[in-house]
């Protein structure tokens, strides 16, 4: 057995727990090794010294006072904890109220935002509708101008047309022609718009005749 191992066993382990064989090997080594025998002797001294120290247990004076002091500290802490709990509950309620208020403000803000965006969309739609309307009005105006021109033109150029309606339309004023044209347009400017020149003429004649009659 190596000296290091023997000295480790002597220092760390309870020799009574070694097997008989190990113990004999150990004693044989110690008998022949001065260094390990010295360690063995020192360890015996160590254990004897330790027994002496261990027999001197520290004495606690007035153990009741210590118990009371600890119990009092614990009660103080418990009261502090209860107070802290109440304090924390108060804080929690305030935080909850603040959170709810914040939530309401956020909801209101987003509602307003949604309302605004909806209004914008509605306005946009309205604008688009209006521009569509205005386009329609433009087309109506074009039709109106054309109708007036055509009526005047037909009255001047188309003898057949002029003859048939001269007696009634000769003294027609510009304003009355416009009114007539307006009626023509109102009745079917979309069809009129899409038709070709001859159809337009026929249509106008038909409408004028209908109006005159």
């Amino acid at each position: 057995m190596l000296c290091n191992k023997v000295q480790k066993i002597l220092t760390l382990y309870d020799l009574s727990k070694l097997s008989l064989e190990d113990r004999n090997t150990l004693w044989n080594h110690i008998k022949n090794c001065h260094e390990c025998a010295l360690v063995d002797s020192k360890m015996k001294n160590y254990h004897t010294f330790l027994q002496r120290v261990k027999s001197m247990e520290p004495v606690l004076k007035n153990p009741e006072m210590l118990t009371e002091s600890i119990t009092r500290s614990i009660q103080t802490i418990d009261n502090t904890v209860k107070h802290e709990f109440r304090f924390r509950t108060g804080i929690f309620i305030r935080q909850l109220a603040a959170a709810i208020a914040l939530l309401i403000i956020s909801i209101a803000y987003y509602q307003q935002k949604i309302y605004i965006s909806r209004s914008v969309i509605a306005l946009n739609d309205k604008y688009q509708y209006n521009s569509q309307q205005s386009r329609q009005t433009e087309s109506f105006n074009e039709c109106l101008v054309y109708s007036v021109k055509q009526v005047k033109y037909l009255l001047k150029t188309d003898d057949k047309f002029a003859k048939s309606i001269l007696d009634i339309t000769a003294h027609y004023s510009e304003w009355e022609l416009k009114k007539m044209a307006t009626q023509i347009c109102l009745q079917g400017h979309t069809e009129f718009e899409q038709a070709d020149e001859n159809v337009k003429k026929e249509f106008l004649l038909k409408q004028i005749k209908a109006n005159l009659n």
Partner: protein
């Protein structure tokens, strides 16, 4: 005679359950039955009666606060000792930081008999463990003065069993030399 954590009488499990429910009277009963062991352990680590009492008080407060986390599969005293040892170690670190300040003050001396016993014991432990690194000193106190098992020390100090053994080996090696010096000095004093 020192008692290891497993040999100290364990508090009744019903008492522990009552403590978990917040019954301070039940905890008072536990304090009464275990405080002496806690004090002895704290005294051997801190080597001062007042510091030991303070550490015991702090430890019981921690035990009370954490008793809800205590699992009955462990011995109550083992669990409590872990808290006491750690509280003492924290206090020791704190004291070492304040050492320069406290060295300037002369503490009042109480010459009653009990105090002399405590002082003699503290002196003796100081003599043999003075130059030891802290870990070796604590392992020596827990193993050789308090008869803790290697497992208990490993659990209390949060270090491996191998490290406990290694610290114990170096502590014993150093202390046995000091004992030789102390014994030789005592013998020479007797001869003179």
């Amino acid at each position: 005679m020192t008692l290891t954590a497993s040999k100290i009488p364990q508090p009744d499990s019903q008492l522990i359950e009552r403590c978990k429910q917040g019954d301070s009277n039940a905890f008072g009963a536990i304090i009464k039955s275990t405080q002496i062991f806690a004090f002895r352990l704290a005294f051997k680590i801190l080597l001062n009666e007042d510091d030991a009492k303070d550490a015991v008080q702090d430890s019981y407060i921690k035990i009370w606060r954490n008793i809800g986390n205590y699992q009955p599969k462990y011995l109550f005293t083992t669990w409590a000792h872990k808290i006491i040892v750690n509280t003492c170690l924290d206090r020791l670190k704190c004291l070492q930081r304040k050492k320069k300040i406290t060295d300037q003050f002369v503490l009042p001396v109480d010459n009653t008999e009990t105090n002399l016993i405590n002082r003699d014991l503290a002196d003796l432990i100081k003599q043999i463990s003075r130059d030891l690194p802290e870990k070796q000193r604590i392992v020596f106190i827990l193993k050789d003065m308090q008869d803790f098992s290697i497992e208990e020390i490993s659990e209390c100090m949060n270090i491996s069993k191998g490290l406990v053994k290694s610290n114990l080996y170096y502590a014993r090696k150093s202390i046995r030399e000091k004992i030789m010096t102390i014994e030789n000095r005592r013998d020479s004093n007797v001869v003179q």
